[in-house]
Symmetry: C2
Subunit: 289 residues, 2 copies
């Protein structure tokens, strides 16, 4: 059947697949210098944030993405204090970072202040931590910020970007990732959202591992987890590590969490058979799971 106009649809033309939500009203739309922002009320998924036609988050399922962008990275570091988020303007990942008591400073750099202002207005549950004295919000180009940031000034860098096209494409390349490496201390953790295991294993995940290796991240691992509102409903995040191994994470217990647990961390590290060694390319063969 064909969907009528009560539905918001995000087609991914290159893969011939679309995700749609029934919407009841449009709450906001705004063209900024960088992108086109929309907020809808949906029938069953809470509010919906859309940027340039792509679903950024829904009230119903964003916990999956935000928890898995923050907690595996922070649990892999023995004592994360200084955390940098590049992108992430909706502040949902930042909220998860702030749950870690070891964190003393969380800097977020998103080019578009309008996203954060829209999140404050329409998704206050995501921005509730923004008044935390540990937080600095900067609205500027993350690439430029990183280039001038002091070396060895962060323990964890989270790249919470849109898809690797347009102004976010540079966030997936070796030059940018080398800058990330420079601002990381050792031990240090980078995590980058890396699209769908089903749709983007070869087009995004494999080149990202190559770029991470080129940038000097000796140990790397891709984690996978469900995100129903993203293309294919199955998503990934890729870790680049300095002086750490992906399997040696701390047990982090945060009772507020809805998806992540230490056991789920291990589950997310378990590679689908069809990915072969792609998700953990630097590990010697026969290294177990």
């Amino acid at each position: 059947m064909t969907l009528d106009t009560d539905w918001f649809s995000e087609p991914l033309a290159s893969e011939g697949v679309a995700f749609s939500l029934r919407v009841t009203s449009k709450l906001h739309e705004e063209r900024t210098p960088w992108q086109y922002i929309e907020v809808y009320e949906t029938a069953h998924w809470g509010r919906l944030l859309v940027i340039d036609g792509c679903v950024m988050l829904t009230g119903r399922d964003n916990f999956l993405y935000h928890e898995m962008m923050a907690h595996p990275a922070l649990a892999t570091h023995p004592a994360p204090r200084d955390v940098l988020v590049i992108g992430g303007g909706d502040c949902g990942t930042l909220r998860e970072v702030l749950r870690h008591e070891s964190v003393t400073r969380a800097v977020q750099v998103d080019i578009d202040e309008a996203v954060t202002r829209a999140a404050e207005r329409f998704f206050p549950e995501l921005t509730a931590g923004n008044d935390d004295p540990r937080v600095t919000l900067r609205f500027e180009d993350g690439v430029a910020y990183l280039r001038q940031a002091p070396a060895a000034s962060f323990d964890v860098v989270i790249i919470d970007s849109t898809d690797p096209v347009g102004h976010a494409a540079g966030l997936f390349g070796a030059p940018f990732l080398s800058d990330v490496r420079r601002v990381l201390r050792s031990p240090g953790v980078l995590v980058q959202q890396s699209e769908s295991p089903l749709l983007h294993a070869e087009s995004v995940i494999r080149p990202l591992h190559g770029a991470l290796a080129e940038a000097g991240f000796a140990a790397r691992a891709t984690l996978h987890f469900p995100v129903p509102s993203y293309p294919s409903g199955w998503w990934s995040a890729t870790l680049g590590l300095l002086g750490l191994e992906p399997e040696a994470y701390r047990t982090v217990t945060l009772p507020e969490l809805r998806y992540y647990s230490a056991a789920m961390h291990q589950a997310a590290l378990t590679p689908p058979a069809f990915c072969g060694t792609l998700f953990r390319p630097d590990r010697p063969a026969g290294g177990g799971t």
Copy 2:
């Protein structure tokens, strides 16, 4: 945006969510006494089988569902010989069952022969095992079949049904599950597809655990895994066990598999935090994982 008529869409009205694939042609349509079958060619997902407007499978992602319906159940049994599939007319689950050398008899009972004939014609990779001498295909009502089947005649019963509405609704209730229990030997394994962890935890998974308990399955566990073409892209299967525990599965290594592995079995058993004890309700608190 609105999708044009080049797209096949499956809206799930009760949850206000839809999945769509761009199609290039309709290869087949047929109204049988039980249901309406369609087969499409898609732009990027191979062929698409639709029954009563619901996606049954695509060429691109059916391996996820079929592997996870078969291998966890068979790996949980110490030596599965006699396997019964109720439903499953596309034969993709049956193909996975036949990969296990211990299996000496595989009986499949689907009410609608037309589904299997369509699968033979349009998805021959799924039906390639149907000539295996271990296979018996029966086209009749699975509920009636089970009622008259000899007690203790199967080691594993796989309920590969459509959603729990219409003629499949009975497959989720205690009377039917009691019949399954009767035809199982001990040790014995039942597995039932149990919908989306995000959408159906309370409406399907919780009542199914209740019905399984009522039918006498002392140990139960829900596994979860991605199926991009099903609502929310995140799916589940629930085990009901006689004389077995879900965590005590054999390591099954089948090099042809694309998702399942022993490590992925463990990953699929790892409950999302928001599900609490729902996915493993009979285990004593503090039981690990």
